[in-house]
Symmetry: C2
Subunit: 232 residues, 2 copies
């Protein structure tokens, strides 16, 4: 903070950066929601549209990175502004990769939609909703500069992990019951795994927000379970 | 470039940053090699030691990030130095996540070592070597500032993906043959998937090196297969 902050143009640039990140976040959230609908409702057209829409997410990532670099070069920010911009550089990477995971879910949807339905999905949409909410909450915490809210996101990851474990166990029983289920069950397992990774990325976002707000690096401080703890 | 470069202290800081990244890369490479040995040689002690060693990788990530922020705040770099430092911020994130994947491999090794061996692993160590080499080559390209070398890393990802597809197909046959193989086969599949993701991270590193060298962003320009193309 300080004299620099009287510079309206600079403030406008920072505001624009914040907006770009939120727009990217909104697009990524929508991609997750559409991706899981393409699985649950067996909607291949939606899957293809979501895959095509990833270009826009990629474009926004590149644009936002460029904006960060321009601000760094021209404004030479310090202290909290510098933390904000350098972490924006990292946030966009995580957001773009969540977008890639939505694409991966859609690719599995296209494969699954070629085959008869394995089972009705009950936990999968709930898991997707939990993961999507984590992304939303992490970005809300980012906007509000609210470290407590960001920490709450990290706590919620246990729920997403528990969904994954439950879905994985159930899929194992389908696989053991009939070998003809195996291929499809591995596809569904991949979808659940992507959602679990969305939760991990949301944790990364939240940890960065805590750092931005407090200048405190909690990334490896034990506030979240060991990397990839339960897994399948 | 320019007058700033006559500042020896500044040059020493940039050199130190480069060294930190290479040290992080070397540790991550060693972690992958040890992780896959803990699977192939069924060595749980090695798996546990590798998991414990991830703390050092995490520590180096935080330290390197801090170094980047200090240089940005104190030196206010521009042009190629600014690109170098902002991309260092992203490189360390990918390197740290490769370290997490090595931990994940070790966790699966511990589970697999509790059970009788499923099969002798032939492709898995080759796949690990291919992925590890991609990481090494991406960092060599980074040190040399060699965009062509970085592009070659991206081309090699197809080999790692092909290994994954082959291993996945073979595991499916084990699963279909005998339901008692299913659980272990899903563990081995996870290991292969982690290695495939190591290859993806190496591609990310390589794309960043191309950007750093040329100021050209190829991240979404079609130089690599669609995100997560073939998958299981």
């Amino acid at each position: 903070m300080g004299a620099r902050h009287t510079d309206r143009e600079y403030e406008a640039e920072l505001e624009r950066l914040r907006e770009r990140i939120l727009l990217l976040g909104a697009k990524v959230e929508a991609a997750i929601a559409a991706a899981i609908r393409s699985v649950v409702e067996r909607d291949s057209a939606m899957a293809r549209a979501t895959i095509a829409g990833d270009r826009e997410i990629d474009r926004l990532e590149v644009e936002t990175d460029g904006l960060c670099l321009r601000i760094l070069a021209r404004r030479q920010p310090v202290a909290s502004d510098l933390r904000f911009i350098t972490l924006a550089l990292k946030l966009v990477t995580d957001l773009e990769r969540i977008g890639d995971l939505a694409v991966n879910v859609c690719e599995r949807a296209l494969e699954l939609n070629e085959e008869p339905a394995l089972k009705p999905y009950v936990d999968l949409p709930r898991m997707a909703e939990a993961a999507r909410t984590m992304v939303r909450e992490a970005l809300d915490a980012f906007v509000a500069g609210d470290a407590a809210r960001a920490r709450a996101v990290i706590d919620r990851d246990a729920t997403v992990d528990a969904y994954y474990a439950q879905i994985f166990r159930e899929l194992l029983t389908y696989m053991m019951e009939d070998p003809r289920n195996i291929y499809r069950a591995t596809r569904v397992q991949s979808v659940a795994k992507y959602l679990e990774r969305v939760g991990d990325h949301a944790c990364n976002l939240a940890e960065m927000v805590v750092f931005m707000v407090g200048g405190q690096d909690i990334r490896h401080g034990g506030h979240r379970p060991e990397a990839g703890g339960k897994e399948g």
